[in-house]
Symmetry: C2
């Protein structure tokens, strides 16, 4: 074992935990909160709900919601200007990955200066950020747990990964009540995203026993509870998906991700697709590609997916991947790349740009542009 | 699920991670460090080693080592006076549970005033503590991870449990190199203590999926690696015990403990015995007592201990407890209470005092003084 680092925010988890928001802000010394959310959460009433909780503590706030579904560099800069203009001191984000990633970017630029693009890559942030409290509304992008933020560089049309321990929020408040207003499509996209986080973190070159227990738990919960949650929409099942998303995020924040996410970030940056829709297409093929380098690890995943081991690790691993493909098909989501990429001739450029994504560093098997082209053509 | 809270320090884990001590102190804004350790670690050379690392960053320090193996209230007060006299700003503790628990007590009293005895129980600490960096030398008391500190009240002759999220250190640096200078007895005592942390946390009334994955992983690692580590003394095996102790601590810090620890704290307070020697005596009997309230949970433990499930959860649970008893016997440690308690007539008083221990609150089954007497008589 090499030297490993493990960092997790303080977590409040459970139905009704939202009520701790004001108390947490007070504890972090808040006087004026910079509150980031989006129009969807305004419409569903949750933004007003949080306002009421903050108001109980007589805290001042500034509200910012000019965030698109893949947050853009200029949106970060606009937010940071507003933050500084009003002299805010604590950041609260309510939403899916986009408002949370944007809030991290804003906290980063407000305290470290420059443009968000200056910090692309790992460990380039020098100064501490303002305290952050994140309230995720999907299960789960993991931004409320993770050391990552993903911001789109509009000029280069690429999703930048920014990775630093200082991007772990101080407190994550995970209230499954927020999931009850989500559509079927958003529940699937978030759960499939969490599943891909867990699977890529599990086979990562920097996975450790501390992350592996969380990645396997996340896979187990999603395989079991996503179909049940879609059918019942019950809070009990949605709560299990929340727990799965959180476990997956603890794993990937500390073990990083791999080839599937390197490609997904590039595709998302170019095509502005919903991140979660890409994994059912790429993930099984990426697992097959990685198999020779981490058979035992993929067999552990297979054992969870299948509920049993077969005669050999290879057999368990392969049967697990097949079962996963059938699982994605049963969700009636697209499993071919042509449904998402309008022009096949852009694939070489996509694969080339993916080689610069920092997630590739922890993928168990090295991948060249040609390897990635083969994967993409295989699922075209 | 109710609302659960999960809090873990930032962790640096692995051989050689000790070298990050100075960098971490700098990052926490240290100018003058209050450094707590004990004569044993001075003799083994580790105290000097840490001094050299701190000196590289040109940091000033004050050293305190007047700590006994079950730290006492007056030792905390003496340390807090020294801390304030010298205007220290960051606490570093190097050692087993005793120097780390003492360091927490000192940081607490230095910042919150009064006597350490004023804070007995849960959530009674009002003001934030000075930043703390802990370097455990055993695998593991868990004090480097946990929300707990255990200090002996000399007047009442009782071990006080103080529990607060503010007692979680900022950073835990876990370097398995430190284990290589430990005796066979200390390795066993620490591993058995970690095993009892994991088992009691696993069946705790406030366990959650986030803690259960860590408690089961800890049990798996200790059962497998303690015998190997005792035979080989290899760094690879000791490192696995370190990881087990850390996982157990993540579990118990967030899920708390139970009846075995309530009794162990009281016994330790009265008899000043090494904490780890008590569990092989009490733990299997406590598991039998709890069985009717958490059969499935003890069956999960049994499955890990046995490496398989039997025909029913009851059968797996019971066989697991028996295997655990055989495991303790194979370690050639005492498994009868008479070897530790000199006078049987003190048992009623011990059991009465144990009813006040806060660990009892999370035990899966309520226990009266009579229940505890029955357990103690059963293993006399």
């Amino acid at each position: 074992m090499g030297i490993l680092k493990f960092s997790v925010p303080e977590i409040f988890f459970g139905r009704g935990s939202l009520k701790y928001t004001g108390m947490c802000a007070m504890r972090l010394g808040a006087e004026k909160i910079f509150f980031v959310s989006d129009p969807g959460l305004e419409k569903s009433g949750w933004v007003d709900h949080v306002f009421k909780i903050i108001d109980k503590e007589s805290l001042k706030w500034v509200y910012y919601s000019d965030i698109s579904s893949n947050p853009r560099d200029w949106q970060i800069e606009k937010g940071a200007l507003l933050y500084k203009k009003h002299g805010c001191d604590v950041v609260i984000a309510l939403g899916g990955g986009s408002p949370m990633d944007a809030a991290k970017g804003i906290a980063l630029v407000a305290s470290n200066g420059g443009r968000v693009n200056d910090y692309e890559g790992a460990n380039r942030i020098k100064h501490p950020l303002a305290p952050m409290i994140f309230i995720p509304s999907t299960a789960s992008s993991g931004s409320d747990i993770s050391q990552f933020t993903i911001i789109t560089d509009m000029e280069r049309q690429v999703k930048m990964s920014i990775i630093s321990r200082t991007l772990v929020p101080n407190i994550s408040i995970i209230d499954p009540m927020l999931l009850t207003t989500k559509s079927r499509e958003l529940i699937i996209a978030a759960a499939v995203d969490a599943l891909s986080h867990a699977i890529e973190a599990h086979v990562s070159k920097i996975a450790s026993p501390m992350t592996e227990v969380h990645s396997l738990k996340a896979i187990e919960l999603i395989i079991k509870y996503l179909p049940l949650a879609l059918e019942s929409r019950s809070l009990d099942h949605l709560e299990q998906l929340s727990m799965a998303g959180t476990s997956a995020a603890i794993a990937f924040s500390n073990a990083s991700l791999g080839l599937d996410h390197a490609l997904a970030h590039t595709l998302g940056g170019m095509l502005d697709t919903v991140h979660g829709t890409i994994h059912p297409i790429l993930l099984p093929q990426v697992m097959r590609y990685n198999l020779c380098e981490c058979t035992d690890k993929i067999a552990q995943i297979g054992k969870v997916v299948l509920g049993k081991s077969l005669a050999s690790p290879e057999a368990t691993a392969l049967a697990g991947i097949e079962k996963l493909e059938a699982y994605f098909q049963s969700l009636k989501v697209s499993t071919r790349l042509r449904d998402i990429v309008p022009d096949r001739s852009t694939l070489p450029q996509i694969c080339k740009m993916a080689t610069y994504d920092s997630c590739l560093l922890s993928n168990p098997r090295t991948a060249t542009v040609e390897d990635m082209m083969q994967i993409c053509n295989g699922v075209w």
